[in-house]
């Protein structure tokens, strides 16, 4: 099999040099633009989505558990910022490590780093809770149960203003469609003040988040646990009979994936300055899933490329570049309204032309070529696209 990515076949040191160059470029990137330039804004969002995509990649790409309700963890993470970094619980008076400005506001105001830790715990627990009912299920049924959980979380987010929390003085669960706003900006030592007029610190925080998560992701993949995930993905029965504990391994995949989603959720909650129930639609789960499939399931670098590419398509190409095309052709609609239709189209085309993604994981590529796991017809039908 020939390597179509000959340029990437650079050997160990060549790869490291390339990675180093990309990271260096990513660090200086915002210096080429104004402090609040649209490009910095879009890239910050893409980086936050990279974190989410890397998390989903653990569940779907490594462990092979199709999760269609991933948006739930974005929701949990975002609500952690909503609850602990804003004046939402107006009766509470807790301030830990926040700026002088937030010090005098009512509500719970914790430093972002503390909220990240809380979100990781909350999401890991939620991931396990979602994982438990799927343990006895087959592949497609997992998709449906996770989808159901995602929808339940959304329904609770929308109607959370009807629920009064116990032991509180009339505190609600969420603010429903109105959203919780404003949310404290992140405060980190050493960086400029985070505000909408200066996006650079936001960008660098997101980049740091991506680098940490990338590192953890790669180490996890190569660890004993990562091998167990891949073993389960390849053949659950064989893995179990070789001594891989199925329950524990699957639940850890859900927990780890969920935790990454939560981290990204806390960042986005603060960056977007609102936590709003409408953010957590099913289509967002598919948006993230499309990123990892476009990039190449299971392949870390592919996922990064896929996430950046899709979010740039969504936030730059469609609204800014292509939006007026239908109007110029005399059609009465804006392309931005149809972004998910375009996504759908992309997904279909992508799956048919390159089911292994832009930068396929080598193992999965082999698997796809051989057609392993494709059921009875696989042995007879040759996969024609190479």
């Amino acid at each position: 099999m020939s390597n179509r990515f000959g340029a990437l076949k650079l050997g160990k040191w060549g790869n490291r040099a390339l990675a180093g160059a990309v990271i260096a470029l990513a660090i200086v990137f915002p210096l080429f633009f104004g402090k609040a330039d649209g490009w910095v804004d879009d890239m910050t969002l893409s980086l936050a989505y990279v974190v989410m995509a890397l998390g989903l990649n653990i569940v779907v790409g490594y462990a092979g558990l199709l999760d269609l309700g991933y948006v739930a963890f974005f929701a949990f993470g975002a609500y952690c910022t909503g609850w602990f970094m804003s004046g939402f619980f107006a009766n509470a008076d807790v301030h830990v490590g926040v700026s002088k400005f937030a010090q005098v506001l009512p509500g719970i105001h914790l430093n972002w780093l503390i909220v990240v830790v809380i979100a990781i715990i909350v999401c890991a627990v939620a991931g396990i809770v979602i994982g438990l009912p799927t343990l006895r299920l087959r592949g497609d049924y997992i998709a449906i149960v996770t989808l159901a959980f995602g929808e339940i979380v959304r329904v609770f987010a929308i109607n959370g203003d009807e629920i009064t929390l116990p032991f509180t003085n009339d505190a609600k669960l969420t603010a429903g469609r109105q959203g919780i706003t404003p949310i404290d900006p992140i405060k980190l030592p050493g960086l400029d003040p985070f505000n909408p007029l200066n996006l650079r610190p936001w960008y660098w925080t997101a980049l740091a988040m991506v680098l940490v998560v990338l590192f953890v992701n790669i180490r996890l993949r190569d660890s004993r646990l990562g091998r167990a995930w891949i073993a389960i993905r390849e053949d659950e029965v064989a893995a179990a009979s070789m001594g891989v504990p199925l329950v524990k391994t699957k639940l850890l995949a859900y927990a780890a994936g969920a935790a990454f989603g939560g981290i990204s959720g806390t960042f986005l909650g603060s960056y977007l300055n609102t936590v709003n129930a409408d953010q957590f639609a099913f289509s967002f789960s598919i948006f993230i899933l499309a990123m990892i499939i476009l990039g190449g399931l299971g392949s870390v670098w592919g996922v990064v490329v896929g996430a950046v590419a899709l979010s740039l398509i969504n936030y730059r190409l469609i609204p800014d570049v292509l939006n007026d095309v239908p109007a110029k052709l005399g059609l009465n609609f804006q392309l931005a309204d149809l972004s998910f239709g375009i996504f759908g189209f992309l997904l279909v085309i992508m799956m048919i032309l390159r089911p292994e993604g832009l930068i396929p994981e080598r193992r999965r590529q082999l698997e796809l070529r051989e057609g392993v796991g494709a059921g009875t017809e696989a042995d007879l039908v040759e996969v024609s696209h190479t």
Binding site: R138, D140, Y141, A143, I144, V237, D337
Partner: protein, 342 residues
């Protein structure tokens, strides 16, 4: 057998039935203890059945496709939505001139029904040809993703067609008008229409699958495509036929839904599709009787939840049911134990 084992066996056998009865029994007791009047719950159950029969039609499409190629056809709900749009638009185009008397209305409705069924059947066959057939040999994730992709594409077709907000449909049959009532259960025209369309279709489908030559070919392909091919069955044609039938049922459901609810919008396919899929899974996916049973049950749960808990909570209630069913009976109500397959 140990006590724990016995309890577990008992739970596996009856747990699901107990679970399904929770909502009706709780609210039935509430009605009895408050005013001793059970018509409220009876009415809910009845409109649940008529509403659920529409869901059953959609669920049949899911179950047929899953039975034959083990694919969750996510685009099916959107096909149903397109069916609604087609039927109501065709009616608006043709029906206005015809809708002079009862005969005109019946004829117009029959024509719209046929048009919707043909359009949806062909649409479904086309989707299969474009999005699923090239991926027959790929791992199962790939066609599932294209299915989701197709559903987004169709949703946006609907969005372009009638815009983002719900459009109202001419209430030609006066859907909410009472026809008669038995023991306080009000039977409306919409209920009668739903039963009049769904019951014959379900009977026809059952007869087709069990008696007709092509139906037998479908069952054979579902069992083992390779053996079926060796026995001289054209597998590709059979699969296309399955999609055609599934699409036609969705089209019929689309017309009934449009007349029943008197509003249509591009997102209805997603919601109804999820409910119908839940119904198919609940009944045991791949099982035709199960899909109908599941549809009726989900319809009842939905109706009770709409009226007694609040429509905004209904999705959560239905999905909570789905998850609990998956926990108690992963194979569904009438489904068979399935082997673990990758």
């Amino acid at each position: 057998m140990s006590a724990g084992g016995r309890i577990r066996a008992w739970l596996n056998k009856y747990g699901l039935i107990i679970l399904l009865l929770v909502l009706p029994v709780v609210y039935g007791i509430q009605d009895l203890s408050q005013d001793g009047n059970l018509t409220r719950i009876a009415n809910n159950l009845f409109s649940g059945l008529s509403n659920g029969s529409i869901l059953a039609l959609i669920a049949l499409g899911y179950t047929l496709v899953y039975g034959i190629i083990e694919l969750i056809n996510f685009a099916h709900g959107e096909v149903f939505m397109i069916g609604s749009f087609t039927a109501s638009q065709f009616w608006a185009l043709i029906g206005v001139g015809l809708a002079t008397g009862v005969a005109g209305i019946v004829f117009g409705l029959a024509a719209s029904l046929i048009v919707a069924m043909v359009v949806c059947g062909l649409l479904n066959v086309m989707i299969e040809r474009v999005a699923y057939r090239p991926l027959r040999a790929a791992p199962k994730l790939a066609p599932l993703i294209t299915a989701v992709g197709m559903s987004f594409v169709l949703q946006n077709v609907g969005l372009l067609w009638l815009g983002g907000s719900p459009a109202s449909v001419d209430d030609v049959i006066h859907a909410q008008q009472e026809v008669f009532s038995v023991f306080g259960i009000v039977v409306s025209r919409a209920d009668l229409l739903a039963f009049a369309v769904t019951i014959p279709l379900v009977i026809l489908l059952t007869l087709f699958v069990s008696r007709a030559r092509l139906g037998r070919a479908m069952r054979a392909t579902a069992q083992d495509p390779e053996a079926a091919r060796l026995m001289g069955i054209n597998v590709d044609t059979t699969i296309a036929l399955t999609f055609l039938i599934g699409g036609m049922l969705a089209g019929a459901a689309g017309l009934v839904y449009a007349l029943y609810q008197t509003t249509i919008w591009f997102f209805q396919g997603f919601q109804a599709g999820l409910l119908a899929f839940t119904a198919a899974v609940m009944g045991g996916i791949g099982n035709l009787k199960g899909a109908v049973l599941g549809g009726l049950i989900i319809g009842c749960i939905q109706q009770i939840s709409d009226n007694r808990i609040g429509p905004e909570w209904t999705p959560a209630v239905v999905f909570a049911y789905l998850i609990l069913i998956m926990v108690f009976r992963p194979q569904g109500l009438l489904g068979e134990e399935t082997r673990e397959a990758g």
